[in-house]
Amino acid sequence: MVKMLNPTDIPVKQAVKYDDTPVKIMLYPAIIFMILGMTVGVFIAFNGFVYPDYFSGEYVHFGKIRPIHVGNVTLLWLLSANIGLFYYFVPRLCGVPLWSSRLAYVSASFWWPSLIIGTYSMPWGTNFGWEYAELPMWVGWLPAKFFFTAAFIMVAVNLYATIATRIYEKMYVSLWYTMGTMIWTSFTVLVGFFAINWVPEGISRVNVSFFYIHNLVGLIFTPMGLAQAYYFLPKLANTPIYSHRLSMIGFWSIAFVYAWIGAHHIIHGPVSQWLQTTSIVFSIWLFIPVWTVVTNLFATVKPHWSSFTQSAPVRFIMMGNIFYLLTCIQGPLMALRNVNEITSKTDWIIGHSHISLYGTFTFFAIAGIYQVIPVITKKPLWSTALANWHFSLNLLGSIPFLLSLWIGGFWQGMEWATWADGNTYAEFHHQLTRLSFVDTIASMHPFWVWRAIGGCIVLFANVLFAINIFNTIVLIPVVKPTLSPAFSKVQP
């Protein structure tokens, strides 16, 4: 392979002074909201499923609490953390400070209140009603959705302007992903938040909604996560990226494929068959970007496997990479009509969304934070041992958590399929009288127990993470500034 440009090649210019306060005001609250979001998730796992409706009432039932969990982990944690990490590595890849720290502060001052108030107002009935776009238009006099959109556009402007004023002429692949995701996100958010009310009522809006839902994952979290993986893995493993060209193929295939596949969320549903088929075809093409990313990251680490054993963040990225492979094998296959018949509308879907947003992109972001924290605080990480525990417990918890959802979901799908067993309607209906819908819910209970156990372990692991980061920030007095990452065992 031709040796391509990568961040480790970039000469460190001592003259450039990066302002990391914007990174801090995005990252630190995001970590708090990760813990809160996961706590709410564990609460739901118990109060919704293991002991259904144990705490009952208007403001605590499942339908009111679930959007708090989703809003917390998708926007307040993952998206905010991603923006924070962008504020960190985009300037460093451009060799210039962030275009405007002040714009970043203004953006954050819109970002946090609108998201916090918007998300936590949902028990009082402000849910917008479209999945992943639950953030209310208005909470009282606060235009939550408008503020959030404005904040995001400010972020996009800031990052684009930073790239435009850069001094390194060549652009590393992470910058491509950054530029792509800023366009995609801005458009996707505008469509899912506002344009959905401009199209005809009914299934047109459903179609727009699924376009938004899928692109939120595919064109926001995926490119953001991959940009981080491509930046932080070479940094952490202290090795150049294996192939810049492969990463370019990945980028362009993502750009080509993702926007087409929204309708695969409603296969067998009330939308036109040709649209379903189109989305299925493009879903299968998703294998291309996935394999390029997975191959590239593995080939990068291959000569340096020792870094995997020595550094928890490298483990997070590589485990995230394996989860990414899994999620992206699942995704296209779930779009096939015959697989979809079994997996769709079951817990399998919940498992799939967790392996991507938690297993993959949360792992990437955590690795990024481990890399970033020593640099922005100018202190080494408080405890490497705790970081190792953090990874091990996260992995340990994610296995019962994800496996129970997949196995349980598949089991339930197979149970539902028994109603299609027979040749005449009388036979079909007889199957339904033998196994009613509520029976298929009851058979999920053991899986839900395992899901809750896994969730508890994951929550505990991330509490350790938060403690570690908190102590790093607060406890140790400032030591001599270091330009090399704290996880420096692999370095001489």
Binding site: G48, G180, F256, V271, T346, W419, F428, L432
Partner: protein, 430 residues
């Protein structure tokens, strides 16, 4: 980069960056055009209604059907039609035990029990118990009614000569007077909370001088059968003020009075819309899908013992502001609820305590859909259902009930797309 171009945004972007941005935008807009914009233009079912029954239910029936609890709580709901002259279609049809007397100029609007053709009109006419009219009028309804009743009863006695020996009861024939109502609008007692309205699509005639509304000429029409004026009597019981239906009570002057705080009526349209908002805010859609998929298990799950439910089609949803197709089915699908669970009492018990109403259910209880019943006068074991309950109930009752007219309904086995034949393999998909 040269000094000359320093600070120039586009120059600074560099060729590869420009290609990135333009390429991304081009690819993206191509996808958006085909997947978001084209479908509703190419596929007519995305925007055209399922039937003219669906259109009239949402646009004619819902905005003009009003519901209120009469402040006595419990199940004492009141249902009222808002009738407008030259708009609402009405039929005045006699039956074996119900007769209508009318002044000569109105007789043409009465459909006899044996008439092959239903007579409809949008002229503002109503029925009432015959009143003795003022002396100056030549048509005395009260006397005419007594005479008619006497002759009907003597006819009946002739037909059943041994009625006393056989232990039969002599029928007290219901006789109503047809009269032209003053003003441009009226309020009529609706017979029940039926979620299927009266519908006629053959053997009918609209007796109006000219066509009044475009929907009067569609392939079938929703009509109001035998409207009687909704009048009320207000009462005071201790500190409680209330009102009840009374055919001889006071008139309701206009819509404002009907919707006033003391009467508290809301149109079905408002309730359905509010129900949709509640469905969104309560997060019902996280557990319930609203689509019968084109899968055997779905049409069986939503079907009856004899018939499968037809799969959902795109145009079932066109009257919704928010549509909830759903991604997870922790509770059963709701797209055919109006047929599967049409009982208000069942829903009352179920929202109050799903775990007792449906054994094994993990649904949370929704007791905030009910008000506390301080006097304990409500019958039944639940609280007093409030507007939240009525809204969500009316919203659910739109599910699966409005696809085709009731005369061609799937729950009669008259499935237009032959779901049963297709899933049994006797017919291929079109």
């Amino acid at each position: 980069m040269s000094e000359k171009h320093k600070g120039n945004f586009f120059y600074n972007l560099e060729k590869s960056a420009v290609i990135t941005v333009i390429g991304v935008i081009l690819l993206f807009s191509g996808a958006v055009t085909v997947t978001l914009i084209a479908p509703s233009l190419v596929d007519p079912t995305w925007t055209q209604p399922t039937s003219s029954y669906q259109v009239q239910m949402y646009e004619v029936a819902d905005p003009n059907t009003y519901i209120s609890s009469s402040q006595k709580g419990g199940g004492d709901l009141q249902f009222v039609y808002h009738i407008t002259n030259d708009y609402s279609l009405m039929a005045f049809q006699e039956s074996a035990t119900m007769r209508i007397i009318a002044p000569p100029e109105l007789e043409k609007y009465v459909t006899g029990a044996d008439d092959p053709e239903l007579k409809l009109t949008s002229k503002l006419l109503l029925l009432r118990k015959p009143l003795p009219s003022e002396p100056k009028q030549d048509f005395n309804a009260s006397k005419a009614a007594d005479a008619l009743r006497a002759s009907l009863q003597s006819q009946w006695e002739k037909d059943h000569p041994d009625w006393k020996k056989e232990g039969l009861n002599k029928p007290d024939f219901d006789i109503y007077e047809l009269y032209a109502s003053e003003g441009n609008e009226a309020f009529a007692l609706a017979p029940s909370d039926a979620f299927v309205e009266n519908w006629v699509d053959e053997n009918y005639k609209i007796i109006d001088e000219k066509q009044q509304q475009p929907w009067h000429t569609s392939s079938g029409v929703i009509y109001i059968l035998n409207p009687r004026e909704y009048r009320i009597t207000r009462y005071k019981f201790g500190n409680t003020e209330g009102w009840r239906y009374d055919p001889y009570g006071e008139k309701i002057s206009d819509l404002n009075e009907l919707k006033s705080h003391s009467l508290g009526f809301r149109s079905k349209k408002e309730l359905i819309h509010h129900g949709e908002q509640i469905y969104a805010a309560e997060g019902c859609w996280y557990c319930h899908t609203d689509q019968t998929r084109t899968l055997i298990q779905d049409v069986v799950l939503n079907g009856s013992a004899a018939f499968p439910a037809p799969p959902s089609s795109a145009n079932e949803y066109i009257y919704q502001k928010i549509t909830f197709p759903g991604t997870r089915r922790i509770g059963p699908d709701l797209s055919r609820t109006g047929i599967k669970r049409p009982s208000r009492d069942w829903h009352k018990g179920h929202f109050w305590s799903p775990k007792t109403a449906s054994k094994g259910s993990i649904m949370p209880s929704f007791q905030h859909f009910f008000d506390f019943d301080p006097r304990g006068t409500a019958k039944g074991t639940t609280g007093v259902p409030n507007y939240q309950f009525e809204s969500i109930f009316q919203y659910l009752m739109t599910k699966g009930t409005r696809i085709t007219p009731p005369t061609q309904a799937w729950w009669l086995g008259l499935d237009p797309i032959n779901t049963k034949e297709i899933i049994e393999g006797k017919k291929k998909l079109p």
